[in-house]
């Protein structure tokens, strides 16, 4: 596990980001029929379980009087709700993991969604290698927002900031329009260049 959130604030933001991501990824797993994305949803779900436990502990430790107790109530409620969101997301992903026969109408419906989530590995040939996300500016060039980066050495960066540098072997997870997903995958493989979409990396 990478660096852990310490403060309640950080835990809350992690809960929010991870449960949102679990939902996006669960739908993408189904859409791509991709078991590895489904496995990522399970990992997120476990991470949220752990966050929820730590949030509870932090809440209990912080209570010294009835006033405090009233304040931590909402925090616990959020942790439970985030947990429920991720549990449901992983139930969607489980369809793939358990090898249950999935009705074609589900794929048909998800494929029609305007917004897609793309998952792509950065190859050596890609001009993104060595760029920061801010320099690559994928959001305004190809309309794709990077929601997570998996480092080639393991470990995730959730909701990565502009200063995160892309290395060869990283896996990017990004959301945006269907065309953008396709273009991003090609850029990641070095088949296409950013300059075709509004300039080279800054």
């Amino acid at each position: 596990m990478d660096e852990e959130p310490v403060t309640v604030k950080e835990m809350l933001i992690e809960l929010k980001d991870n449960s949102e991501l679990a939902v996006y990824l669960a739908y993408s797993a189904l859409m791509f029929r991709d078991r590895t994305i489904a496995d990522e949803v399970s990992e997120l779900e476990e991470k949220i379980d752990e966050l929820k436990a730590r949030m509870r502990m932090a809440a209990m430790l912080s209570v010294r009087n009835p006033d405090d107790a009233q304040k931590v109530g909402p925090l616990l409620k959020i942790a439970s709700a985030a947990d429920r969101i991720s549990n449901s997301a992983s139930e969607i992903a489980e369809l793939l993991q358990r090898g249950i026969q999935i009705h074609p109408i589900i794929f048909e419906a998800l494929e029609r969604a305007e917004e897609k989530v793309a998952r792509c590995r950065i190859l050596d040939e890609s001009e993104l290698v060595g760029c920061s996300l801010g320099e690559a500016d994928l959001e305004s060039k190809v309309g794709m927002m990077v929601i997570a980066v998996r480092r080639s050495g393991g470990g995730w960066i959730w909701g990565p900031g502009d200063d995160v540098k892309i290395s060869s072997g990283d896996v990017l997870i990004a959301r945006g329009p269907g065309d953008g997903s396709m273009i991003l995958r090609e850029i990641a493989r070095g088949i296409r260049k950013l300059k075709d979409f509004g300039g080279e990396p800054r």
Binding site: I13, K16, E20, V23, V72, P74, K77, A81, A82, R112
Partner: protein
């Protein structure tokens, strides 16, 4: 479109998926910004989801008569999960409506996120009226995403490129504060012969 009787199960699943993503997004936002307005939107979305959930189950049962039960199990599992996601998201924003003093951490958390969610009204005479989203490209030009459009009491969630903006629309938008301010400025511009020019200035 909502009341179309020929609406297929696939349409329902797609709507439910979009609605659940929007609800999750908005619910945390309501919380982080301590916004009763957005929390109320979430509540309405959740009610809409209940309705879609009901119709999807009817449709699943109907299909099961023709196809047998087993192939439909996966669909049932998906719609159950989607409904539950939305329900849980609603619990998050309910905290705002319950009027419990938000934990001070929410204020801090709020300041830390770059994007804010806000509403922008399309007033009569605005240059944005009767423009197609594809043409406005607000996401590229001002960095603002339209999460939903509220029009005559109904919410159009996750509007697509082909949707138009109309007079009286309330947009629920997500973006940087500057971006949203810019959008408000554009929206307040009155329609006149220079409109094309003014819009391109926002490039």
């Amino acid at each position: 479109m909502k009341d179309d009787p020929s609406e297929s199960l696939g349409d329902l699943i797609l709507k439910m998926k979009n609605l659940s993503e929007l609800t999750v997004d908005l619910s945390y936002t309501a919380l982080l910004f301590d916004s009763k307005e957005i929390a109320n939107e979430v509540k309405q979305l959740e009610e809409e989801m209940d309705e879609l959930y009901y119709r999807s189950r009817l449709s699943i049962l109907e299909r099961a008569k023709r196809e047998g039960t087993e192939p439909l199990l996966s669909v049932l599992q998906v719609v159950d999960a989607i409904e539950d996601i939305t329900d849980a998201a609603n619990e998050v924003s309910e905290i705002v409506l319950e009027g419990i003093d938000p934990h001070p951490v929410f204020d801090i958390a709020m300041r830390d996120t770059e994007d804010v969610i806000s509403r922008v009204d399309i007033d009569p005479g605005s240059v944005l009226i009767d423009r197609r989203l594809a043409e406005l490209k607000l996401d590229v030009k001002v960095g603002v995403d339209i999460l939903a459009i509220k029009r005559s009491g109904k919410l159009i969630y996750d509007p697509g490129e082909h949707d138009f903006l109309r007079e009286g629309d309330i947009l629920i938008v997500k973006g940087s504060e500057e971006g949203i301010d810019k959008l408000r400025e554009i929206s307040e511009e009155e329609e006149d012969e220079d409109e094309e020019e003014e819009l391109t200035l926002e490039e």
